[in-house]
Each structure stands twice: as C-alpha cells, then as structure tokens.
C-alpha cells in the first residue's frame, strides 16, 4: 500500500520560514535531547540563525541573557514582536551574519546553531 513518487523540483534551496519555525521541535524538547536545561541555565546564550526567535525565547527563561542573530530582517522583526508579546526581557535580536558577529571575545557560554549550519 505504499509507494514513492519522484517530483521534479526547480527551485532548490527555497525556504518556507513560517513552516520551518512552527513545525520544528519545541524548544524544551530539543533542549532535553541535548542534555537538559543545565546546558543553558544561568548562561549567556547566542542563537545563531534565530529566525522568529522560537528557540531563543524558549531558552530565555533559563538563561541569564540571550542574543539572537539572523540575516533576515523580517525574521528578526518577528522575533522582536514575539519577544514583546511573551514579555521576555533578557533576549535581544539583531540582523547580522555568522561571519561577522558584533560581540566581544568570549561573550557567550553557549552558541546554538539549530537547523542553521
């Protein structure tokens, strides 16, 4: 009763951000798999490729400080909106690329590349 059909896809690499974010694992599920909350508890966390802030906002309640950075200005705007709505005060979001991070040396205890690299 099963088969697989092969589709022709012309636009490789196209992303669907809304789906990509809402249909990913929940932050605490991911965190549990990575070893639990102790990984980020009381730590300074950088979420690279933060998108709409799904993961950054999820770990913000545990971390001391969370920074999210993403090259997509629309995604960063969404992250800021989501952060305000959630009343999160220790998370900040900015537009930027991983190759040029606007932070001093040794500024973070944890850097997360979740579905980014």
């Amino acid at each position: 009763m099963s088969s697989v059909t092969k589709d022709c896809v012309g636009d490789f690499g196209k992303h669907v951000p809304a789906y990509a974010s809402t249909l990913r694992p929940r932050p605490h599920d991911e965190l549990r798999e990575w070893g639990g909350s102790r990984l980020v508890r009381g730590k300074r966390v950088l979420d690279l490729g933060c998108g709409d802030g799904r993961l950054a906002l999820g770990v913000a309640r545990l971390a001391t400080r969370v920074e999210g950075i993403d090259p997509d200005p629309e995604a960063v705007a969404s992250a800021k909106t989501n952060s305000r709505r959630a009343g999160v005060r220790n998370a900040r979001f900015a537009v930027g690329a991983a190759q040029h991070l606007p932070y001093p040396d040794g500024a973070f205890d944890v850097v997360i590349l979740s579905w980014t690299l």
């Binding site: 009763m1 099963s2 088969s3 697989v4 059909t5 092969k6 589709d7 896809v9 636009d11 490789f12 690499g13 196209k14 992303h15 669907v16 789906y19 249909l23 990913r24 694992p25 599920d29 991911e30 798999e33 990575w34 070893g35 990984l39 950088l46 690279l48 690329a97 991983a98 190759q99 040029h100 991070l101 932070y103 001093p104 040396d105 040794g106 500024a107 973070f108 205890d109 944890v110 850097v111 997360i112 590349l113 979740s114 579905w115 980014t116 690299l117």
Partner: protein, 140 residues
C-alpha cells in the same frame, strides 16, 4: 562555513559549548498516518541532492574546526521528531512547499479509502541529529 565557526569560537568563552543541530539528511523521513494504536507508514520522503551536498559541506566544516583544534567533540546523538498535520491536505501542502524534500510520499489507496481517512491525523517522522562541541582555549 569555516569562517563562521572561527567567529563562533572567538565569541565563545573557553570551555563554552557550541550546539549544532539539524535534520539528519542521511536518514529518510517517513510519512505516516496516526492510527488508534501507533502509526501506519505509507511513504518515504528523501532529501534533495543540493541539501545533501550542503549537509556534507557543513560536516566537513565542523570536522575541519575540530582538526584545527578550535573545538573538541563532546557528545552527539539523534532523535526523531514528529511533524503533525491535522489532515491529508495539510501534509500534502507541506510536502509541496518544503523544497528540502524531493521524493514525495504518495498514499496509494482507492479514492473511497482516502476520503474515509482524509481527516485523520498525519505526521512526517524526521530524524534530527545534534552535536555538542566544546570551545578549546584560543592558544591551545
């Protein structure tokens, strides 16, 4: 990618942790229908060739960062993530729009059966792999 890893190493405190988590493209995803007990698998969803190449490039970048002693491998693993869909139409829309996938699942049953189950819950079961890497001191 290697440039990004060098930059990540710079902003991480010595002993800090880099978490690299992403879909495991080496393992196919599965399309399944939720039954009263468990799931019925009805298709395999494979990753596009371009995405596979990107994933291999990411693996090589990590391997190089480890070889260059920027990071030490600490722990790695894999888990399964269920992407839920409220019905068959929603699953199809996702597969149509998600261009990471190329081989699309098709549920081959007669029209009456498909109609009977069209409001069932469907899932894509995807493998997600992760690795925790520890930042080595800059002068090590």
């Amino acid at each position: 990618m290697v440039d990004a890893l060098v930059e990540i190493h710079r902003v991480l405190a010595p002993g800090g942790v880099l978490v690299d988590a992403r879909p495991d493209s080496r393992v196919p995803a599965y399309a399944e229908r939720r039954k009263p007990r468990g799931f019925q698998r009805f298709g395999i969803v494979k990753t596009s060739r371009l995405e596979l190449a990107n994933d291999r490039a990411s693996d090589r970048a990590i391997a190089r960062a480890v070889r260059d002693e920027l990071f030490k491998r600490r722990r790695r693993g894999r888990f399964w993530h269920l992407v839920p869909f409220s019905d068959l139409a929603e699953l199809r829309k996702y597969l149509r729009e998600h261009l990471r996938f190329v081989h699309r699942a098709e549920w081959v049953v007669d029209a009456a059966t498909r109609k009977r189950h069209s409001n069932d819950q469907f899932v894509i079961r995807r493998a997600v792999r992760y690795e925790l890497l520890e930042a080595c001191p800059p002068d090590s």
